[in-house]
Symmetry: C2
Subunit: 190 residues, 2 copies
């Protein structure tokens, strides 16, 4: 989306927007009007303006504070991932229970804290989203810690279903799901 700003155009039609991301122009308009009227009839959508509104809607106009729990390879990969940072998702704390890891400084500047500090650091650093990449058995316990510390959402990379209360949203990631898609499609072709 940001790419569009780099073209010299100021205005874009639902037609072009649709072509750009592979959907029907009517779809684009329906979706957009669900949130408000951002276009001008007979003209189109102001790109900068539209982007601003979308950011508002997706709440990507603000900077989010995240923490990572569990610094195995995956945990590391996530904290160092600057794609997230670029989009406004900033890791401001890192937790683990391994005494060997605690105190270690990460490339991104964070120092690994013990899980026991979750309850104090989450409120202090205004952490809204907890990302978990722990061993499976720890996932539920860590989630509970995060929730009672006041986290509003949990991004779960552990292949385990995590139970939460209503005030906390969960998104699960399971790498094998998309692999199954691939496998299914490949299997169908031959």
């Amino acid at each position: 989306m940001e790419e569009l700003l780099e073209t010299r155009e100021i205005i874009i039609s639902s037609e072009k927007l649709g072509a750009f991301c592979g959907v029907n122009p009517a779809q684009v308009r329906k979706d957009l009007t669900f949130f408000g009227e951002f276009g001008v009839r007979g003209v189109g959508y102001n790109i900068g303006n539209l982007l601003h509104h979308i950011q508002k809607i997706l709440a990507t106009d603000k900077e989010w504070h995240l923490c990572i729990v569990g610094l195995g390879n995956l945990g590391h990969a996530l904290v160092e991932n600057d794609n997230m940072r670029k989009r406004g998702y900033n890791f401001v704390a890192a937790f683990d229970i391994d005494p060997l890891k605690i105190g270690t400084k990460l490339d991104c500047g964070l120092t690994i804290e013990p899980n026991s500090r979750i309850s104090v650091l989450v409120p202090k650093l205004k952490i809204e989203i907890g990302v978990i990449a722990t061993p499976p058995l720890m996932a539920q316990g860590v989630s509970n810690l995060l929730m009672s510390a006041g986290v509003r959402g949990i991004y779960n990379f552990v292949p385990v279903q995590v139970r939460t209360d209503a005030c906390c949203v969960v998104e699960n990631v399971d790498f094998t799901v998309k692999l199954e898609n691939l496998a299914y499609h490949i299997g169908k072709i031959n």
Copy 2:
């Protein structure tokens, strides 16, 4: 799903199956009958039998050969991930261009090979799926290499849209998509 095998039950009803994964019982039946008649009227579905059929359908009854390209933190996390291995997705080769990494032995037993060996190792090891976790600029080049080497699917962890020919399926992973979901929901609540 496998978890169900561990319960003492042998037979399960569409009702319970639905409850188990949060869908309507009729949905369960419709979906299953699409592929065949696996249940017994008045009784239910034999769990072991059903699992077998599903594995057949999803082609998870066979062992898949994968390779990883790009061994940063994420690449490491993926190859070492035994959740994939358990489900039949086995990494049988690892590639990188960094001369410092080439020749290194990974915990999983693989030795990192230079990208230049992709074209020979993919056919030799019968690799069907290539997983890419390289820097963004390399992603397209690596994909081309993989495709011409005969890979049937690409699992793309790089935040870049990769073009492929029809004979090759792509699945893209972007960690920020689910973060946007979280952010949107959290934003709506308060």
